[in-house]
Structure formats: C-alpha cells, structure tokens
C-alpha cells in the first residue's frame, strides 16, 4: 500500500511539472506577450522598456527556469492588465467558483444519485423511461444554451431570478443548475448501471432468498456494493465541473475563476492566463489523485494492478 501511494505521488509530481512546462510552452508559442497585449500605436521604445522590465528579453530557457522557480513559490508574475500579482487575482476568484461548483455537486448528489437508484430498481417502468429521457437530454443539451433559455424564461419573462452576477441565493439558482445539468445526467446514468450490476449479483439473490424486505436488499446490499464505482466515477467527473465553470460563469457573469480565465485569454494577459490555467490544472490533478487514492483504499485490487 505504501509503495503504491508513493508511486502515485511521484507520478503526480511529474505530471504537475510537465503540465507547468506545457503551459509555459503553449503561451510562448503565442508570440511576444508584450506586443500582443499592447495597443497597436505604441512606440518601440516603450515596448522594449516593458519587455525588459518583465524579463521577456532574456533567453527562453532562462525565462522557463524563472517561471518554474516562481511557480514553486506560487509566483506567476504580475497581470499585464491589472498590474497585480496574478496568483492573487486567481485566489481572489476561487471562493466564487468553489461556491458554484459545490452547489452543483450538492444538487447532483441529492437529485442524480436517488434518481439513478430509483430508475435501476424500477427498471423498464414509467419512472425508468422518464429518467432515461431526462438523463439523455441532460447530456445532449449544451450548458450555455440551457443557460440562455433559463435566463429568457426566468429572468426576462417571469422576472423571478436575476440574469447574472453574484449576490443572494437567487443568484445561485440558475448557474448551479446549468453547471450541474451535464454532470448530474452522467452521474445518474452511472448510478443506474452500477446499481443494476449489483442487483444482478448472487448476494442480492441470497438476501432476497432469506426473506429480507426489498428496501433492505437495495439499501444495504445493492447500494453499498455499487458505492465504489459511483464514488470513483463521480469523483473523476467532478473535475469537469472546473471546465464547465469556464462557460457557465461567462453566461451568468459569475465572478469566478472560469470567467477570469476567459477574460485573461480575451485580453491576452498572459501572466494571468498562465497563473489561472496552471492553478486549474494542479487542482484538477490533485482531485484525480485523491479519487485514485480513495479508490485504492476502498478496493485493494486497484493497488496490485498499478
């Protein structure tokens, strides 16, 4: 077990280092960050001064070393637009994204998992068919279109909810539903198939044969045993919420990390892009690591396979 954890940790460190390298490489491919950021009519003298000040005149390898050293200390340089510490800006936006993603997660757990269980238990009944339609639609409808339609109905026509921004509970309703939709649909389908698998096992037959009430058969035997695949896949998929936040936050003007990233890309504010993308990547990698370790702890067979 210990060797396995050590191996996973070492692999994670390697992936993080390589990902940071990839972020640096991608941004350097874009060309001169100063020229891209500056207005067209700026004088060459000013460009050069700016470049010198930000260290863009040094050889690429020196810049790379400086970037990696900075990244280790959490220093990604200064945002070109806001003239402030890039990572500071990222961290400032983090709580908003965590609130949104957390709410979406909560919605998923309280709606999608029970839905998955019910549709598995009532297989081929009306509930199952309705559930299938719902999950298939949830996976097909793009979040940003769902967002626009919800805004039209509930904000423009009915005036029940605000169109965007962050504030009270009312502001959270539409963004969290939009962010949760795709994820919840996947989790519901995964739950359904995991519970169906478990219901087909011999121990369920045994439990039924000894006369246990159906509620206990499902609750104690089937659900417990299908928990592992549900937790793992739900955990692995949870990282996609960070990707979904990029789009959702933009539609609802939610002041989170995703919107910051899009704005930084649109402004060609490359230090900020590097900070935001690196940060998201590291969080995503760590989430995967946690899920992996959890899985290995729950199911010893995983450890031997790796």
């Amino acid at each position: 077990m210990r060797a396995w954890i050590a191996a996973r940790l070492a692999q994670t460190v390697l992936v993080v280092v390589l990902s940071l390298t990839a972020v640096f490489g991608m941004v350097r491919l874009a060309g001169d960050p100063v020229l891209l950021f500056m207005p067209m009519d700026i004088q060459a003298k000013d460009v050069n001064e700016y470049r010198q000040r930000l260290g863009f005149n040094d050889p690429v390898l020196v810049q790379y070393a400086r970037f990696m050293q900075g990244a280790v200390r959490g220093d990604f340089g200064e945002s070109l637009r806001y003239r402030r510490d890039a990572l500071g800006l990222v961290l400032e936006r983090l709580p908003a994204t965590l609130l949104l993603a957390g709410t979406a997660m909560l919605l998923t757990l309280t709606v999608a998992v029970p839905l998955g269980v019910v549709t598995a238990v009532r297989r081929d009944r009306a509930v199952d068919h309705a559930g299938t339609v719902l999950t298939v639609l949830g996976q097909a409808i793009p979040g940003f279109w769902l967002g626009l339609m919800l805004i039209y109905v509930f904000a423009v026509q009915l005036r029940w909810l605000p169109t965007g921004g962050m504030g009270g509970l009312a502001h959270l309703v539409m963004p969290s539903i939009v962010l949760a939709a795709f994820y919840a649909a996947r989790v519901a389908r995964l739950t359904r198939s995991a519970v169906l698998d478990a219901l087909g096992e011999d121990y369920v037959l045994t439990a039924r044969a000894k006369g246990l009430a159906e509620r206990r058969v499902v609750g104690k035997h089937a659900l417990r045993n299908s928990a592992i695949p549900i937790v793992t896949l739900a955990g692995l998929e949870a990282g996609q919420l960070l990707g979904g936040a990029v789009v959702t936050e933009t539609i609802f003007a939610w002041p989170g990390l995703g919107r910051l990233t899009v704005q930084a890309l649109l402004n060609r504010d490359f230090p900020l892009v590097m900070a935001a993308v690196s940060f998201t990547s590291i969080v995503y990698t760590l989430m995967n690591l946690v899920v992996d370790l959890l899985y290995g702890w729950l199911d010893p067979r995983v450890r031997s396979r790796a």
């Binding site: 097909a140 339609m149 979904g244």
Partner: protein, 266 residues
C-alpha cells in the same frame, strides 16, 4: 427506439446540412436592415431574421454544415493520430510508449474545454485553427482506449500464432491487431463527435473559434445575448439545432456501443 431516434435525428441533420443551399432560398450572409429582427413566421422568413435582417433559417442550416464539417474533421484527425499513437504505445514496449502515455497524462491534467480554449486562443481564430485546437486536446481518449485494447488483443492466441508463423511486426500490427481494435475506434468516434461539435460551439460562444459573420451556431448564440429581451428566436433556434444534433449522435453512439462493445466506458 434509441437506435431509430438517433438515426432519424442524425440523418435529418446531415440531410439538412447537405441540402442547405436548396432548403434555404436566401443567402445566410445577405443583410436587409429594413426587415431586421422579424419574429418567426414572417413572410419569407420561417424562423425570423436577426439584427441585420439575415434569414435565421438559412443561418441555422448553414450552421449545420459548419458544425458537421468541424466535427467530422476533428474526429478524423483525432482517430488517426490518437489511434496510431495508441496502437504504437500498446504494441511496442519501451520508452516511446512511456513518452506517449506521459504526454496523455499531461493532457488529461487539464479539463478538455479549458485546454481546447487555451490552445485556440493561442493558435488563433478561424476554421482550420478550431479543428487543430479540438484535435490537439481530443486525441488522448483514442490513444488511451486503443492502447488498452491493443494490450489485451496482442496476448490472444491468433496473434501469437501469426507471430510464430513468421509474420512481420508491421503486418502483425495492421492485419491482425488493428481489425480487432477497430470497433472500439468506431464507438469512441461516435461518442466524441458530439463532444467536439458542442465544444466548438462553446468556444465560438466565448468569442474564439469561428467568428461572425460566418454562420456558426456558437457565435450566433453569442450574438443573440444582446437581443434576448427583444428576439428570443435568435437564441432558441441555433441552440435547439445544436442540442438535436448532439442528441442524435449521442443516441447513435450509445446504440453502437451497446452493439459493438458493451464494456467500453468513455
């Protein structure tokens, strides 16, 4: 049921895209200020017009062309590149395989849409670059699935038998291993297709990717935000077209997976 609905929707979208010039009598780029923002059902404009008076039906139909073209190109590129890398990394042991899989790990440490968006912001706008960005972010799924399949297929008796008969390694790989891995490639392709189409729309929606005035569903939806209070149809129809396309292809993909490869999870 799944199969027929998926097939009907997919065929419908493909036919609409192919026959767009005949279905829509009007050029999707021609502006007509005198009849801007007409609601659906106006004479000559079944789905209404946009803020510049362009016919929405024509724009949605031409949008289908663009969406399917981008989806098909991206799936083709990723299937070939990812499939080959997967074949090689599963078949040949040693450092190339390790290098390919490390590269895959690095790519998987970014959420797909964020990676595609960032690459697109860097390589630039336009049709070719959006296909390039989506492919660069999307090949990993093939590489992983194909590698896994190859690792198991190459242990089969018929592969050992062929090797014992003196079949060379390239022939072994392409004649004996590849045909047995092909169903997985088809299933992944169908499941990835709608992801690419939706991702392209999302990226264009965010202001990258395909730019106006080209009729792409994503950029049409992006423009529609400014007119949500006065013209709901500008948001409703392009998005519905996108959702129906994704729905059709997803259903078809589900059915293909159930038929060809029930154990595959993508």
């Amino acid at each position: 049921m799944k199969k027929w609905l998926g097939l009907a929707l997919t065929v419908g979208v493909v036919v609409a895209a192919l026959t767009a010039p005949w279905l829509a009598a009007i050029d999707p780029m021609v502006t007509d200020f005198a009849s801007s923002l007409k609601p659906p059902g106006s004479p000559g404009h079944p789905l209404g017009t946009d803020q510049l008076g362009r016919d929405l039906l024509a724009r949605v139909l031409y949008g289908a062309r663009l969406a399917l073209f981008i989806g098909a190109c991206t799936v083709a590129v990723t299937a070939v590149v990812g499939g080959l890398l997967g074949l090689v990394s599963g078949f040949v042991e040693g450092w190339p395989a390790t290098a390919i899989m490390r590269l895959a790990d690095v790519q998987l440490s970014f959420p797909f849409i964020l990676l595609a968006l960032t690459i697109n912001a860097i390589v630039g706008l336009g049709l070719r670059n959006i296909i390039l960005s989506l492919s660069a972010a999307g090949w990993v799924v093939y590489a992983r699935v194909v590698r896994g399949e190859v690792l198991s297929v190459k242990q089969r008796d018929y592969v050992h038998a062929a090797a014992a008969l003196g079949v060379g390694r390239p022939r072994l790989l392409f004649r004996h291993v590849l045909p047995n891995v092909a169903p997985s490639i088809v299933v992944v392709a169908s499941l990835q297709f709608s992801q690419f189409v939706v991702a392209e729309a999302a990226i264009s929606f965010l202001g990258f990717g395909v730019q106006p005035p080209t009729p792409a569903w994503g950029s049409m939806l992006s423009e529609s935000r400014d007119f949500l209070y006065v013209a709901w149809w500008l948001a409703a129809f392009p998005g519905a077209a996108l959702a129906l396309t994704a729905l059709g292809v997803n259903l078809l993909g589900d059915w293909l997976r159930d038929t060809l490869d029930p154990k595959l999870r993508v």
